[in-house]
């Protein structure tokens, strides 16, 4: 009797959302997997049957170049974001508690701003008639406007700008957790600031660094808007290729295959980070 | 003539996985009595209370209230109410809304609810606190609101889960007296779980000493304290001298000899700095400790180390190293049974 009521309780609370997720999240992904394993229909769309042909077609010079570029740009963006975020996080963490809120807020607020707007802003700055070029030619440093937009560099700048808060917050959280007493003890025992950092601060911040790098890498790898607005043809990434295949070329199987590949890489990256994190946690508490 | 029991536990047991928290409790409780379930942490007393309240289902056995089995009845339909250890007052409701909650759930009309809630708050001596929020109250006040909230529903049994453990000492003693007064006033059976033996002895009509999931002795406070059945109970409730019966012959004579283990309470040993009549055995005071109202002496006598409690006013001459005489009356000796496993 009580078990029966419990079952109804579960169904009433968890049921609707679980059902919704099943239909509008899991099933779509299932459809994508199926499409990835289907042949392309002549007029666009998907034909019947099962084939690994589309997955095989991924192994193509152009596509591979785009995939390789995506990984490369995502990696570069992640490292650059790390290089910028870490010192800032460290500087904030060293401030006294009540002075930390403002800098944190200031860094986090831009993450609430629409991605389109942030990337669009870089267009206004980097294009031929944009801020940078006007300043450079105006100051006489260059005679001709530089092609800054629609390059891989522009994409990286856009990515770093967009995802900086996602790197900063986890690192700040990890650094904040380090007791100041540890650092003072190390200095008391004769460690120079360099050694304090290398032996005490850096190792304790690794969890945050790993989290931040995972977030940023995963977000940048699958990005569409930034390379679309700032990259042009030379900055095309996986996301753009998928959109192109689905909405323009209408080669659903190829688009689906690329989507599956992207998901696999993302899940692997996150899974790997989690495994490393739990192993590091266990090592520390051992 | 004995009335039929109000609440009956028949071989109630509860296992969590392979751990048995309650291992077969059988007992009957009458209407109107104040019962304290006394035990150390981990003995299963809170689990037993939760079984009666309905938040756990027994692995075996039955719980019957007013003759009807409760086991299949969910907590919201049992005629028992529980005062939680952390009071569990609803933070988003006023004190009055808290107290009225149970009545609201049973669709009592608003006017009646207000009247009964006010009566309950007056009973616990908080007549003017209805419109405040729980966060504005002190610990003792919150405790009283929790009691009012439970009592207003006129349950057949009121369960209290260590209600006073979060209060400091002075407040605790005050609240003990309050609980007693309230129980006498409403005449409802109280089942009060505690680990504090002083609390149990002073509050209860009957005490059930619980250990490792079982009631090891149930009786009046006097019975529990003066006639403990086993060493476990003896040592749990008050200080004790546990002495093998054979070693008591200096005081009891040859007729007092025998097997087994006995208990002599420290305050029942007569002590003086001069020789006394009767079978007084000489001894030396090893050390003394002053507790304000009493003095505790550790005395070596007849090869035993005995703890003796003396009112401080009568402790003149009882200093470290002093020679003293001890007398133990036969009535002061309690024979203890074997401890249960």
């Amino acid at each position: 009797m009580r078990v029966e009521r419990r079952g109804r309780l579960v169904a009433a609370t968890v049921g609707p959302a679980a059902l919704f997720l099943l239909v509008f999240f899991l099933v779509p992904f299932g459809v994508v997997v199926i499409y990835a394993l289907s042949p392309a229909a002549p007029g666009g769309g998907v034909g019947p049957g099962f084939t690994l042909e589309q997955l095989g077609r991924l192994w193509n010079a152009d596509y591979l170049r785009i995939v390789g570029r995506s990984v490369r740009l995502a990696a570069v963006a992640t490292l650059l974001t790390l290089a910028i975020a870490y010192p800032v996080a460290w500087a904030i963490a060293r401030l006294e508690r009540r002075r930390q809120l403002l800098p944190l807020l200031v860094i986090v607020v831009p993450s609430w701003i629409n991605l389109l707007i942030k990337n669009y802003a870089w267009i206004t700055i980097l294009r031929r008639e944009g801020l940078v070029n006007t300043a450079l030619t105006g100051l006489g440093i260059t005679s001709e406007p530089l092609p800054l937009l629609f390059t891989e560099g522009a994409v990286v700048v856009g990515l770093v700008h967009s995802y900086l808060p996602f790197m900063l917050l986890p690192i700040y959280a990890a650094l904040d957790r380090i007791e100041p007493a540890l650092i003072e003890a190390a200095r008391d025992l004769g460690a120079t600031p360099g050694r304090v950092f290398r032996r005490i601060v850096w190792p304790q911040s690794l969890a945050g660094v790993a989290a931040g790098c995972t977030f940023v890498f995963v977000l940048t790898l699958g990005s569409f808007v930034t390379p679309d607005l700032l990259g042009g043809a030379r900055g095309m990434m996986i996301g753009n290729l998928i959109q192109n295949q689905i909405l323009q070329v209408r080669n659903w199987p190829l688009g689906a295959a690329l989507s599956v590949a992207l998901t696999v890489v993302v899940v692997a990256a996150i899974g790997g980070a989690l495994v490393l994190a739990t192993r590091a946690q266990r090592g520390r508490t051992a | 003539m004995s009335d039929p029991p109000l609440l009956e536990l028949r071989d109630v047991a509860k296992a969590f996985g392979t751990q048995e928290a309650v291992r077969g409790v059988t007992e009957a409780f009458q209407a109107g009595e104040y019962v304290c379930i006394l035990g150390a942490s981990g003995c299963g007393k809170t689990t037993l209370l939760r079984l009666i309240a309905g938040f756990e289902t027994p692995s075996r056995g039955d719980i019957a209230l007013q003759g009807r089995s409760l086991v299949a009845v969910p907590p919201e339909r049992r005629n028992v109410n529980l005062v939680f250890q952390d009071y569990a007052l609803f933070p988003h409701l006023t004190v009055r809304a808290n107290v009225e909650f149970g009545l609201e759930m049973r669709r009592v009309a608003a006017a009646d609810r207000a009247r009964r809630a006010d009566a309950a708050l007056a009973l616990v001596d908080l007549p003017a606190s209805g419109d405040r929020s729980p966060q504005q109250l002190s610990g003792g006040q919150r405790q009283r609101v929790a009691v009012a909230r439970a009592l207003v529903n006129e349950p057949a049994v009121l369960l209290l889960d260590e209600p006073l453990s979060a209060l400091d000492r002075g407040l605790r003693q005050q609240m003990q007296a309050e609980l007693r007064r309230i129980q006498r006033n409403v005449g409802i059976t109280f089942l009060h779980v505690t680990h504090d033996q002083g609390e149990a002895l002073s509050l209860a009509d009957r005490v059930a000493v619980m250990h490792a999931g079982r009631f090891v002795q149930v009786g009046t406070p006097r019975e529990i304290y003066e006639r403990p059945r086993s060493r476990l109970v003896a040592e749990f409730v008050g200080a004790s001298n546990v002495i093998p019966r054979a070693r008591l012959t200096p005081w009891l004579g040859p007729s007092g000899a025998g097997d087994g283990v006995t208990l002599v309470r420290p305050e029942r040993i007569e002590i003086a700095a001069q020789p006394m009549e009767g079978r007084a055995v000489v001894g030396t005071v090893r050390r003394t400790a002053y507790f304000g109202a009493t003095v505790e002496c550790l005395v070596d006598a007849a090869g035993l180390a005995l703890v003796v409690h003396v009112p401080a006013a009568a402790a003149a001459g009882l200093t470290d190293g002093a020679t003293v005489w001890l007398r133990i009356a036969a009535e002061a000796v309690v024979v203890l049974a074997e401890d249960e496993a």
Binding site: V14, F24, T134, I238, V267 | -
Partner: protein, 261 residues
Amino acid sequence: MRPAARRALFGTVLAFVYAPILVVVVYSFNDSRLALAWQGFTLRWYRSLLASAEFRTALENTLVISLSATLLATALGTLLAVGIHFLRFPGRRALQALLYLPVVMPDIVMAVGLLALYVATHLTLGRMSVILAHVSFQISFVALVVGGRLQGFPVSLVEAARDLGAGPLAVLRRIVLPVIRPGIAAGAVVALTLSVDDFLITYFTAGAGASTLPIRIYAMVKRGVTPDVNALATLLLAFTIGVSLLALRGVGRRGGTEGAA
């Protein structure tokens, strides 16, 4: 770190993060078609924007879609979080893990999947297709925020309510939901901002008439840099920041009066 070095660091990073945004905002008031030379303060771009029928349609669509989706997602997500927290059932852990998937899944993959589903089921693309798509990722965020809020929820409150005669519905309505109200509000705010800001998934699943503000921005940007894009961007910016700051203050204030007995 020495104060001078710290100031230099903060200053540079701040400039990097805010300069582009300031440029957009400032130039939305610039009385000039060509982006750069400042030729006076004006509100004409805002006026032309607000007069534009396409803008008004996009605004209306955004409001209808985002508010409906947020309402639905908040209800579903809150119930889900409550069920997961208080009830034990087979598959509970799996469901908890599943909740993280929409958070980590790349937008493009979700967009493709949803479009594939719609095409395969012949669902007409319009506002409804977008609403359903938004809810599919909003639920997770709401459930995670509310679930986080439930972590410290004292079980004794639920037991006390049951002890006093409350059935499951009464427990939910009278005890659980009121106490976690700040968490629900926080979840709703997160869901709302995600929905208003969403571009890619909306782009794939919107029909011709369901254009939202982000889609308008994208279309205008692709056409070229014009001042009304600056105005639209600034409006959206103000809205998002405004809502988030309000929510932040609301959460802070209510957090102060919290606390179970």
